[in-house]
């Protein structure tokens, strides 16, 4: 399939909206921003298969924001729902009950709780079966819909309502974020990428590129969450920008398992700028600076980027 759009400049982004306004998501929702941009690339012939999460209430009886279709499944089995729909569409088309023009792209919509935790087995199964579907994980690094509890996507040292920064747990969350990208990559899906709403062209290019692949097309969308991360909603793009520029959120893709970074910051910004912008990390700075925790965060970033920065230097 030829690439229809190169997405070299902002003005190539579609003017058409596929998710209409009026939903009950929080103002400044980074996940919705990412989904809106992705949907512009995917077009209207889609069916979302939703796992319980913040986006469950995008569609709320008697209202739907979508120009396409939707099925709410459960928290743990949206990829299995995608399997049922994909298979059924194929069967109906194969026996002529449905014309090929009626076909739909099947897209799982799941938050990090569903993706990293409760639905991981179901996702693994769908990728293993090489199901022809899209997976859009809006990763706001906590169980946002239930009021911001820790998920295995919550980064080290973030405060959530179940990982409070307290006397015995001064850092808040004590465990590092699970590496879902690598877990998915171990299945060798044809296309896998991370995206950020603050990088709309990178995002659009990745969704456009993925169209060429049959099989699982998986996306983890960095989704700044003003409500859960404690910053003003207007700061969503800035938080997202800092995440990428500090090296905390790597923009990358893996085609049949082969990883490539689609953006490497020329020089990593100090991660403290990112941390200080969000209430969920405030305890790292007040009442005292938690030097050990800050060092741990810095070291994890350095360790992640070391091979790539070295490669770049070698290339020079």
């Amino acid at each position: 399939m030829a690439i229809e759009h190169a997405y070299k400049k902002l003005k190539e982004i579609s003017l058409e909206e596929f998710i209409l306004p009026g939903t009950s998501t929080c103002g400044g929702c980074g996940g919705l921003e990412a989904l809106r941009l992705a949907h512009k690339v995917l077009g209207k012939n889609v069916v979302f298969v939703n796992a319980a999460g913040c986006f469950t209430l995008l569609a709320l009886f008697p209202f739907s924001p979508f120009k396409g279709s939707w099925l709410y499944t459960t928290m743990a089995s949206a990829p299995a729902g995608a399997q049922g729909i994909r298979d059924a569409l194929d069967l109906l088309i194969a026996r002529g009950a449905l014309s090929i023009e009626e076909d739909l792209q099947v897209i799982v919509l799941a938050g990090d709780g569903a993706s990293y935790d409760i639905g991981l087995a179901s996702t693994s199964g769908a990728i293993y079966r090489n199901l022809d579907f899209w997976y859009f994980c809006y990763d706001n690094e906590a169980y946002g819909n239930t009021g911001v509890q820790m998920s295995s996507a919550t980064p080290y040292a973030a405060r959530t309502t179940t990982t409070p920064a307290a006397v015995l747990t001064p850092e808040g969350t004590e465990l590092p974020k699970k590496d879902l990208f690598e877990i998915w990559r171990a299945h060798c899906p044809p296309y896998l990428a991370t995206v950020s709403p603050r990088h709309p062209l990178d995002l659009a290019r990745k969704f456009e590129k993925a169209k060429a692949f049959k099989g699982p097309k998986l996306f983890i969308a960095y989704s700044p969450c003003p409500t859960g991360w404690h910053y003003d909603p207007g700061q969503t793009p800035e938080i997202a920008r800092l995440a990428v520029e500090t090296g905390l959120w790597a923009l990358k893709e893996a085609v049949h398992g082969e990883v490539a970074h689609t953006y490497i910051p020329k020089k990593l910004k100090s991660v403290e700028e990112y941390l200080q912008a969000q209430g969920r990390f405030a305890h790292l700075f007040h009442p005292v600076r938690q030097e050990a925790a800050l060092r741990k965060i810095r070291e994890a970033i350095t360790q992640y980027w070391a091979p790539y920065l070295r490669t770049m230097q070698n290339a020079k």
Partner: protein, 411 residues
């Protein structure tokens, strides 16, 4: 009546034949004993082209039932099967797909629930699902399994119903037991069960539909739940229509309940599933010595056929519900339902509750004798004892021996 050949089939094979004759187009599967033979057979039939469509092994029963429901919500005829722990693992999905109002058929091969984990049947698994919005048909014979699956699709797909159905058979006692089963011809089955063409649930580009959508507000939620209830109650009449047509075409007749030698009976047993056969044998023995005893077999558990139960038990002196299940802390589950059905009868029989056959435990002739004695005593005294846990002396002796071997002497 069309040609029907008879073959020796296990209950599992009869279930597979039911799916095949129903032309189930999509079968998501997951293995669990004692159901596995069903999906193995279907896998083979899809693989060799005997059945058209797709068989897919999923990663759990939870995923399996989700895929089944989603495919049905897209518009294909779906069959799937599970058992015991598998049914419970898929539990939330039962409610979910029933709420989508999709008419798939799920065969459950009953097996008692852990802990302790075991292999033989009782009905705690399927009865746990009784409030989920699935209709339930419980089978006594392998023939009934095949026939009920065909009937189940026709009931489920009726626009007056549009609810999924569980067809239940007992593990081991039916699942692995062969007996002669008449297999309708594919043509006759197709004439009985036309293709599924939904008008309320589909996914297609030209008609976007958001399904299974969230609601907030009790009055909205209640509306849809009431619709499930009304649909399920409609299924009583639809079942009878479908059963009548089935009898016309295939010569076998099924009611929501089966009355066995009940007409002039003073005492009645109430049972379900394969052990009803043992109950019928006990009834025959009682009859031989002149005792007026009959048996009522519950077949359609959801919707519950209150009127049929009332009519069948009217005028009896005492009735014993023999539950092969245990609602811990309460007693027998179907006892409660039968009691509710009889409560407003002007001269209702005394109603006794007995628990037996848990984990496939034998219900021996002696136990049936005891149940009859209990009914007679109750009839004589007007006193009804609490739930009776049936257990024999021999079993108790054996169990004591096992406890000794297990080193439990400190107890």
């Amino acid at each position: 009546m069309g040609p029907q050949r008879e073959e020796m089939l296990t209950g599992n094979m009869a279930a597979a034949w039911g799916a095949r004759l129903a032309r189930a187009e999509y079968v998501p599967a997951y293995p669990i004993t004692p159901q596995t033979e069903i999906v193995e057979t279907l896998a083979q039939w899809f693989a060799d082209g005997t059945m058209q469509g797709k068989f897919v092994t999923m990663d759990s029963e939870h995923s399996m039932l989700t895929a089944a429901g989603a495919a049905a919500a897209t518009g294909v005829r779906v069959f799937t099967a599970t058992s015991s722990q598998g049914l419970l693992y898929a539990f939330e999905v039962l409610y979910t797909v029933a709420g989508w109002r999709v008419p798939l058929v799920l065969v459950n091969v009953s097996r008692a629930l852990a802990s302790p984990i075991t292999l033989e049947p009782d009905h705690n698994d399927v009865l746990a699902a009784r409030d989920a919005g699935f209709l339930q048909i419980h089978c006594e014979t392998c023939q009934e399994v095949l026939d009920s699956i065909l009937m189940a699709y026709k009931i489920a797909e009726d626009p007056r119903v549009l609810l999924p159905v569980i067809v239940n058979l007992d593990g081991y006692y039916l699942s692995f037991t062969r007996e002669p089963v008449a297999i309708p011809s594919a043509e006759e089955a197709a004439a009985f069960l036309p293709p599924y063409e939904p008008h309320h649930a589909f996914f297609k580009a030209s008609r976007p539909l958001a399904q299974g959508i969230a609601v907030l507000g009790g009055f909205i939620y209640s509306y849809f739940r009431y619709q499930e209830q009304l649909a399920a109650r409609n299924a009583l009449a639809v079942h009878d229509e479908v059963a009548a047509e089935f009898a016309r075409r295939f010569g076998r007749s099924y009611g929501p309940v089966e009355a066995y030698r009940l007409e002039d009976a003073e005492y009645a047993l109430v049972m379900s599933n394969a052990f009803a056969t043992k109950g019928k044998a006990a009834v025959d023995l009682f009859r031989q010595r002149g005792e007026r005893v009959g048996l009522l077999r519950l077949r359609l558990l959801r919707p519950f056929p209150h009127e049929a139960v009332q009519a069948a038990l009217r005028g009896k002196r005492a009735v014993a519900v023999l539950d092969q299940n245990l609602s811990v802390g309460q007693g027998g589950i179907t006892y409660q339902e039968v009691a509710a059905a009889l409560y407003h009868e002007p001269s209702r029989p005394l109603l006794l509750s007995c628990i037996g056959g848990l984990g496939g435990k034998e219900i021996s002739a002696g136990e049936f004798e005891e149940v009859l004695e209990l009914m007679k005593e109750a009839a004589a005294t007007g006193q009804v004892p609490g739930p009776q846990l049936l257990y024999t002396e021999g079993e108790q002796t054996q169990m004591a021996h096992l406890l000794d071997i297990a080193g439990k002497e400190w107890g």
